[in-house]
Amino acid sequence: MAEPEVYAIDVQNAVKRYGEFVALKKISLSIRDNEFFTLLGPSGCGKTTLLRMIAGFEEVTEGEIYLYGEEIENQPPFKRPVNTVFQNYALFPHMTVRENVAFGVEMLGKSVPESMQRADEMLELVQLTQFSSRKPSQLSGGQQQRVALARALAPQPKVLLLDEPLSALDLKLRKAMQLELKHLQRETGITFIFVTHDQEEALTMSDRIAVMSDGEVQQLGNAVDIYERPKNRFVADFIGETNLIDVEVTSRDQDRVLCQFKNGLTLTCDAVDGIGIGSRGHISIRPERMKMRSEKVDDENWQGKVVENVYVGTDVQSIVALQNDMHLTLRTQNSDTGKAMIFEPGTDVFVDVEVGSARLLAD
């Protein structure tokens, strides 16, 4: 990109302290225009705190926040052109659906008829026109969620914040809403900042993800980056399933290193800066990137015995015991080709790791 980019939200060195407790430890993030950005992490990691700081409900202890170049961290929420979809929707119970959706527009100074008209447009966008005269308590959870969405989008904010909006919905509805949100973001072109603890949800919807834990950003990248190339143990463990193996780096050959397991087995993988010879670390191997073979096909294959097979519908999860009681979890797809690589418990097999799929991690 030739010109310097103006970020939708630029967080610089933001710190949040509650007395002694530090909720956010110097976070810096740049969120782009027209991006679906997710803050992902377990509860207590600070993702909601960060979101509320952007919305204006939490004071920024240190640091700055910029909205399209304008500094906003000192502005009260009703002065910031950002809107929030709250986790419990927070629909005004005494107003009709239409009045709810029109509220923000009216607060911005538009006349009542104008705001009602805008509300009607939004309700059509989320397909709830026939409910516009009802009270929120008369709607289902999924419908309330769409009203909350319409209400937040009606004033045409520069950025939309979503605080775990799908957590109260059942699975099928959730999946449907995930696609609808993605679609909505594309259509409106507004930057969405989405907070969730569900990593599958994050991977499905996001352009980029910031994985957070303990008040820090552990890794920032798109779905492929985060999943395939986790930077540390937390990210590897939190996103999807993985096998984590305690290793020591014994030698290096250009950009490949040799790692030694505790039980004597070895594996070659890509070198990582900062982890030199003699360092200890972990290797992360995703279960679907390993295969069981009846014969050795590579020098680095490991010998083991199948302990258990677990049928999970789309895949079969196999637990294989290597020497010295080390166990690995593998996943094989439940297709015709896959079935050929699934063996009965008790069978001796060789574990073949796909080239380049093992990631060396700092702790």
């Binding site: 409900f57 607060m107 937040a152």
Partner: protein, 310 residues
Amino acid sequence: MAGGAASGGSGAASETYKEARTLLLMPAWLTLTILVLSPVMLMLVYSFLTKEFRGGVIWDFTFAAYDQFFCDRGLFGDEGCTLEWTYITIFWRSIWQAGLATLLSLAIGFPTAYFIATRPANVRPLWVFLITIPYWVNLLIRTISMRFMMREEGPINNLLVGTGIIGEPLQMINTNFAVQVGLFYSYLPFMVLPIYAAVERYNFTLSEAAADLYASKWITLRRVLLPTVKPGVIAGCILVFVPSLGAFLAPDLLGGAKNFMIGSLIEEQFKGNAGNWPFGAAASMILLTMVLIMLMIYARQQSRANRGEA
């Protein structure tokens, strides 16, 4: 009293003592029917009787009491019925006084209730306790203390004159103002407690949503908070207005002769030899009717609100 919460016991109705139920309830039913319900019925009857000269009644049925209340029949009592304003004025003045007292209670009571409800949860009961203690002090004593404070040579005037803020003592006692302050002082906790209960239940995320949608704090108060806690506010207003309407002590001790209210009017009918029992009974019936109508309107509004929100 937030009696509404204890009514009917909605929640699993236990049936443990179902067989003994009538026996258990009989004492209460009997006592209250004999000592409260039937006396009120009797009062209705008495309002249609003839007065006896030294108090009491003669069992002669007549409309005389109501006639005296509503009709002006001239100096000798033999003209046609034109509207008698004297008593209606007294009722009207009482309504007005009670109304003002209610507004005053609302103006100070609402922020107080709100403030207490937004204190940290462990401190809240203490605040509530502080607000309710004065209620448990004898109303008579509280009214006396108000009178003591507002006298011409009372502490307030002493302070104001002593520090030079005013030149001469203010005439506070025996004014409308004194009565309103007295009523406000008598029933303030009744305004605070229902509003407190309502604000405590209020979900502040709604205020956050309003702020998120560009509403300033005061607009949020007016358009979001108040409509949501409206039932509590109305309950508080009723709990102050109704007792104020029939109050006796505040007008008597603080208002003096010029501020005759319903309570004083009624009381006068039953004291000494100038009394007119049927008239007193009639005035009481009129007061009771007004109160019951108000309570019914309130109850209907409550059930409509409950149905609307369901």
